[in-house]
Amino acid sequence: MDALHGMPHCLVMEYPKDRSDGQAQLLSVVVDDDESVRESVPDLLREFGFAARAFSSAPEFLSSGCVDETSCLILDIAMPGMSGPELQQELKRRGHEIPIIFITGRKDEAIRARVLKQGAAAFLLKPFSDEALLAAIKMALQAI
């Protein structure tokens, strides 16, 4: 319960894990070439109350067919082929306005500044706590 201490109760109510009235959950997508991230983060997202899916590369996500339903994108910066920032550009070009939370193992002020300027909602450094991720998602969704 420590993790939830101090959090407004209503927040927990806002994203119920499952809704018996059939209302769809919001979809959070994780795109990262790191397997451990694809393993662990979707579980966490589900604990937050989201539906979650994971993809290992940007092209995989783009051709997955769930781009339109994605409410929030957790995106790795450095990936082979199309990088995170490149996917950000591509989504913009395609007219999607999905809020993006960038995650990265490397601290690079230049990239951070750039992606934030390009409209990213947050920039998290690995390893990040679950609270940090939740806060970032809140910010991302409230921003819409």
């Binding site: 397997e35 451990s36 991230v37 082929g81």
Partner: protein
């Protein structure tokens, strides 16, 4: 006097005698052998004394040739005065002077208180040659015939003297000519001698020059460095074989060129400046390192030492260059510079900060997983009802990631310290399969088709299992990355093992990915070289260090079709001492400077 002749016989005899005397006189010139005036006159006087009964005869004349006054005196034995002829001559001169008869005394003058008749006979048409004075006590002197004889004698004497004079003159002229000829000849001889000496001296000089030329030519031809002689515009006059060979031109071809023609443009400004300084006297010689362009277009680095050749007046006439091919040296220098730069790069990148960053990166991934899973676990357990199964799964992952982090630390520690390898006898096929299984899900997710071609008879190898697996993992990751953007042909990954040579085993990872560019091929094994945007670029360099520490080698070859094959080969048995040395070597090159 047309008297009747008293005694005709005697008269005839007298006349005959006179004619004989005349004939003798006429013959006189023929017998005057020498042309000495004195002798002529003396002979004449003697002749006269005989022919004409004289008491004395005296001749006073000037040598027609030399103008030297001459006086000859002859006295008959019967002469009363009985004084020496010179005294008589003196007395006569005095008397003549006294009487005012410097020139021709009148006929019949008396002399010395005696009754001596003096008969002057002029010599020469006008007496210009001189005169003969004859005297006699006899009354009636001179008679008709005597006068005739005396006149004829005087004429002959004149003739003789004139001829003598002429001959003397001719002789004189001849002598003069001879003298002049002799002088001229002597001059010519002297000049000849001078000339001969000069020629001899010149020949000596030429020989000396020839000898030094020989020596020079020998040096020139046999020199180990290129030698070139040019005029002041730089046009080649003579080049030695080494020089010609260095540039790939024949001598005749070079003689059409200047050295600036064959110098690389880059060096022309400096070259021109140095030549100016040399010719302007600012320097005695200069050195330049530059590139020539050979006839075949290739460049050759040379080191030239250039000086000017001065003539006798210390004026520059030629340039001479000693040219050393330094291509090898330049290549070595460049290689050295490159190696130094690489070393500096490696040294720099071996600094502790980068080491820490590499460890941090390698460890970060499992660490992130641990933290995320732990957070998830807590939430799951706090849920109502608690999600025990989910929590269990997160814990499992946490443990796994913790182990992974630990392995990474161990691997890095091994690599970056001087610790020994921990070799074990392992089956390469099994090790490869283990590692590949770990990545299987990811590979499948990426649409990669995996195939094995593992040798059945692969011998066991003594190697550090973890390290070898790290290498295989690295190769697998790289292969997958290379194929991540491929969608026009299948993504195929082939893992092959086989025996290699006598005592080695080889493992190859073949992909059908984008392949290596030529530039990449040269650099992929270098530390921190990566084509990935976020790669640290240590994967392959670390992998190579590991393989080399095992006394093996790691290399890449392009496929016939698309993609690349990375292979490593390691010996089955490990020479532990050599292995430790190898680890030390790789540690040294990556340690902090």
């Amino acid at each position: 006097m047309a008297e009747p002749v008293a005694d005709p016989e005697r008269e005839i005899k007298r006349l005959q005698r006179c004619i004989n005397d005349l004939v003798s006189l006429l013959a006189l010139p023929a017998i005057w052998s020498s042309n000495e005036p004195a002798q002529i006159v003396a002979m004449l006087l003697d002749a006269l004394l005989r022919m004409v009964r004289l008491d004395f005869a005296c001749a006073r004349l000037k040598d027609p040739a030399t103008g030297v006054p001459l006086e000859i005196f002859r006295v008959a034995d019967s002469f009363k005065l009985k004084a020496p002829p010179q005294d008589i001559g003196a007395m006569l001169s005095n008397w003549l002077k006294r009487e005012g008869h410097d020139s021709l005394p009148p006929t019949g003058s008396r002399f010395a208180r005696e009754d001596i008749s003096i008969f002057p006979v002029p010599l020469g048409i006008h007496g210009e040659i001189g005169m003969i004075l004859v005297g006699s006590e006899r009354a009636g002197f001179p008679s008709q015939t005597e006068s005739l004889l005396l006149s004829v004698a005087a004429n002959q004497a004149s003739i003789g003297l004139r001829e003598a004079a002429v001959l003397t003159e001719q002789k004189r002229i001849a002598n003069e000519l001879d003298r002049r000829v002799a002088v001229r000849t002597a001059e010519l001889a002297a000049t000849n001698e001078e000339l001969r000496k000069e020629i001899a001296a010149r020949k000596l000089e030429e020989e000396k020059l020839w000898r030094s030329e020989e020596r020079w030519r020998s040096v020139f031809e046999n020199s180990a460095v290129g030698v070139a002689l040019t005029d002041l515009t730089g046009r080649f006059i003579a080049t030695n074989p080494v020089y010609q060979k260095m540039l790939g031109y024949a001598e005749a071809e070079l003689q059409q060129l200047t050295f600036l023609d064959i110098t690389h443009e880059e060096h022309l400004p400096e070259n021109r400046r140095l030549i100016e300084d040399l010719l302007g006297g600012k320097r005695q010689q200069f050195q330049i390192e530059k590139r020539y362009r050979r006839k075949d277009g290739q460049a050759v680095w040379v080191r030239n030492n250039v000086s000017a050749v001065l003539d006798a007046d210390r004026v520059a006439r030629f340039l001479i260059a000693l040219s050393e091919d330094m291509t090898q040296r330049k290549l070595s220098e460049e290689a050295l510079a490159k190696a130094r730069a690489e070393l500096a790069e490696v040294a720099r990148s071996s600094s502790l900060g980068v080491l820490a960053a590499s460890i941090a990166h390698e460890v970060n991934q499992p660490l992130s997983g641990i933290i995320t899973n732990a957070g998830t676990c807590l939430r799951m357990l706090s849920a109502d009802p608690p999600n025990i199964d989910g929590a269990r799964e997160t814990v499992r992952r946490t443990i796994r990631d913790g182990n992974r982090a630990s392995d990474v630390i161990t691997r890095l520690r091994t690599l970056y310290s001087r610790k020994e390898l921990s070799p074990e006898s392992m089956n390469l096929n099994e090790a490869a399969q283990e590692v590949t299984e770990l990545s299987l899900s990811e590979l499948q997710r990426n649409g990669v088709m995996l195939r094995y071609e593992l040798a059945d008879d692969l011998p066991l190898v003594v190697a550090d299992r973890i390290q070898i697996q790290q290498v295989i993992l690295n190769l697998l990751r790289n292969a997958a990355d290379a194929m991540s953007s491929i969608d026009d042909h299948p993504r195929e990954l082939l893992i092959r093992t086989e025996r290699d040579g006598g005592n080695q085993v080889r493992l190859s990872v073949q992909d059908s990915g984008i392949g290596l560019t030529r530039q990449a091929a040269g650099n992929i094994f270098e530390a921190f070289y990566t084509t990935k945007t976020d790669g640290m670029g240590i994967g392959l360099s670390v992998s190579r260090s590991i393989i080399e520490a095992h006394q093996g080698r790691l290399w890449a070859t392009p496929n016939d079709g698309p993609g690349t094959t990375f292979s490593f080969a390691i010996p089955c048995t490990l020479d532990l001492d050599e292995a430790e040395a190898g680890v030390n070597r790789s540690a040294q090159s990556t340690d902090a400077a």
